[in-house]
């Protein structure tokens, strides 16, 4: 039975690749990515083995190993649905004993890029202690137990939390939570690499104290036992080994219990978490025309669909990230670029509808109404964001006196991007995250053409917005306040003009090709 489950996982992997070339390419990219991380980790481990002091070796291995265990436990919760291929709920109807199921699902969890990379990494890490063969032997044993902790912990977490996470709302909230966590990690890394967290000695000291604590927790015990052995601290090693075994046993018990429960309980779908809104919402507030209705629908999505909400969040995150990586005044140079990217977010608006676009295609909706409604909604939501961001950055960097010039460049670029994106999303649709899909799910790669089209589109926005950007640069550098006001006027007028032209042209394309867009969306779904 165990072999059956492992073989099933292999078959699923292989058949997944048969579905399309893009799956193969995605797999290859994933493989390269995994290999890259692995190579990086292995290089680090080798360097550590050769040059590191025993103290540093212990701290790095414990901290890294703890992250590994944590990652195994957390990522599948976020990425729920990514690997639902071996969802225990699918085996409910088969007479398989829980022992077999646990062994089989556990081993099958190691089949795949993350599993193989983990095993290889842990295996090589054992040889950090090459100067003391006994420690290597111990490290191999605790390594196996550590990997088991990873897999069992991950399975226990997903199976145990599955009843809670089946709700749509819960999934969306955890998605946001973990995204915030990832962003924090990323920013911390940025501060670290730019020396924002203090000198090397300080970082190493922090690492040591972290390892001291982690070494006694279930996350880190597996990786600190060999260090104890190498240091001759046998009593510590014994206690930690006991903690490790106890952890594994408890996790197995927890998984077993959760599995037993999920085997007899039908998964509840969205119990008690059904979303509701009283009245008509935006539909009661926008003009009662087809274009107004489209705008109301888009506005509702901007506020209620996590995919759109994330786009708004990303706009605010970008300058924070730049600041974390050490940019100061220069952030202002990225402002027009940021504005273009913000406006460009509606370039995949039609793609985001998915097959729901049929509601537009089946009605006598004019293309220009469709385009105008979507652009108006984006303008209402993102326009204030761009203004707030510009003012904030201008004040923070001490360039408040250049506000007219900066606003002209940002708003001009933003409006132009809305216009060009309106054309773009009426001309091509591409594979994007569908409503309700896990934002971390495996996406089929975008084709080279769509990537080139996207880049070309944004580049053309940059060219179209050159007048106001040039005026802004001139106004700041000369410096000339008058040129700044001219830039603001030019940006607003030119941007608005491009938006109107874009909506009309896009509307024309939509009128001619809407059913073709829909057919393509059906093929992509």
């Amino acid at each position: 039975m165990v072999a059956h489950l492992v073989r099933l996982k292999l078959t699923l992997l292989r058949n997944g690749l048969k579905r399309s070339v893009w799956q193969v390419i995605g797999m290859v990219v994933g493989l390269l990515y995994g290999l890259g991380i692995l190579a990086l980790a292995l290089t680090g481990i080798v360097a550590l083995a050769v040059a590191g002091s025993p103290d540093l070796q212990r701290s790095v291995l414990v901290a890294g190993g703890s992250l590994l265990v944590l990652g195994w436990a957390l990522l599948p919760i976020v990425a729920f649905g990514v690997d639902a291929t071996l969802d225990p709920a699918r085996f409910v109807t088969f007479p398989i004993s829980r022992r077999d199921l646990i062994a089989g699902l556990g081993l099958a969890g190691l089949v795949g890029i993350p599993g193989v990379a983990t095993v290889l990494g842990v295996l090589v890490a054992a040889f950090v202690w090459w100067r003391q063969p006994v420690a290597v032997l111990v490290a191999l044993v605790t390594g196996v137990l550590g990997v088991a902790t990873c897999v069992v912990g991950s399975r226990a977490a997903t199976t145990g939390l599955a009843p809670i996470l089946t709700g749509r709302r819960a999934r969306e909230v955890t998605g946001f939570g973990v995204l915030a966590l990832l962003a924090a990690f990323y920013l911390g890394f940025g501060r670290l690499t730019t020396g924002g967290l203090g000198s090397e000695q300080q970082v190493v000291a922090a690492l040591h104290s972290a390892a001291d604590v982690l070494g006694w927790t279930p996350l880190g015990v597996a990786w600190s036992v060999p260090a104890d052995v190498a240091a001759g601290a046998w009593s510590n090693a014994g206690v930690r080994f006991a903690i490790l075994v106890a952890t594994l046993a408890l996790l197995l018990l927890a998984w077993d219990r959760a599995l037993a429960r999920s085997m007899v309980q039908a998964p509840r779908h969205d119990a008690g978490s059904a979303g509701s809104v009283r009245g008509l919402g935006w539909f009661a507030r926008t003009p009662a025309s087809p274009a107004g209705a489209v705008a109301a629908r888009s506005l509702t999505y901007w506020f209620r669909d996590p995919r759109y909400a994330m786009a708004v969040g990303a706009v605010f995150l970008a300058p924070v990230a730049m600041w974390a990586f050490g940019l100061r005044e220069q952030v202002l140079f990225f402002l027009p670029f940021l504005a273009v990217v913000t406006g460009w977010s509606i370039a995949t608006d039609t793609s985001s509808d998915g097959t729901a676009l049929w509601m537009h295609v089946a009605t006598p909706l004019r293309g220009v109404d469709d385009r105008a409604g979507r652009a108006a909604a984006a303008l209402m939501v993102l326009g204030p964001v761009v203004v707030v961001l510009t003012v904030f950055l201008a004040v923070v960097t001490g360039h408040a006196q250049n506000l007219p010039a900066l606003l002209g460049a940002a708003l001009g670029a933003f409006l132009s991007a809305l216009g060009v994106a309106s054309v773009m999303s009426a001309a091509v649709v591409m594979r994007v995250q569908q409503a309700g899909e896990n934002p971390f799910g495996v996406k089929q790669g975008a084709s080279v053409t769509t990537v080139l089209l996207q880049m070309g589109g944004m580049l053309s926005v940059g060219v179209l917005a050159l007048p106001e950007i040039g005026l802004a640069v001139a106004s700041v550098l000369l410096p000339s306040p008058v040129l700044g006001w001219v830039g603001l006027l030019v940006g607003l007028v030119l941007g608005a003009l491009l938006l109107v032209i874009g909506a009309r042209w896009g509307g024309h394309l939509y009128d001619r090709g809407a059913p073709k867009l829909l057919q393509r969306l059906v093929a992509l779904s």
Partner: protein, 283 residues
Amino acid sequence: MRVGSVSYGGGVTQTPPPPPPPPPAQPPTPGRPALELYGLWKSFGQKTAVAGIDLVVPRGSFYGLVGPNGAGKTTTLSMATGLLVPDAGRVLVQGADLWADPQHVKGTLGVLPDGMRLFDRLTGAQLITYAGLLQGLDRDTATARTQDLLAAVDLVADRDTLVVDYSAGMTKKVSLACALVHAPSLLVLDEPFEAVDPVSAANIRDLLASYVASGGTVIISSHVMDLVQRMCSHVAVIAAGRVLSAGTVEQVRAGATLEDRFVELVGGRAVGEGLAWLRTSSD
């Protein structure tokens, strides 16, 4: 209905599209049939899903479209409603060419496609109102009709619930309400009764029957022969992208039940002993 992939059906491998049929008259004329399909043809890559379908749907008829899985029903209905561009052929709605002037004709059609998503982050009430406003209704009319339709499809209690949290049957019902909101003269419904509970199905049947009695025309596709035989005045049997038989239900079933006649036309019944080991009662 929401998740999973949609395909416009399978079919047989054939190559050449037929020559276009003779062009009939242009403007919508009261005397014309509700829907005429001439030489409709659609291939997806190597697969020909619809291979030259001709069909005339008289005004005031309740027309059933039946066929095995992959027969081309969904593809045909998609082309008849402006959702899918045909490779060849014409679609006339009351004599007006749909693909020559889609904007003008689409307002007279009410459509319920199968396997397409909805804007499901809207509530039921919002979605129906949205459909009405897209059709150009003013807000008061759209709101009033939304109330009536929610009552007609038993969704009043769930009017403020997001459609994404609806069950499959409720989703069908709200889609039907969207198709009706602008009082179309022709309703094209792809599998409207799938997953709908018996009470709601009976209510919807009454609704459609009174719609037909007041001069409307309904086309439905279905797998349930019994339902088609009871409800429909006309029926067309299609398989492998072609019409095998079409006419009034009486004509098509020719004395037998529709189900027997369907099996006879389409073929493919397994004959023989069946699974001999699947007997738990004896010995």
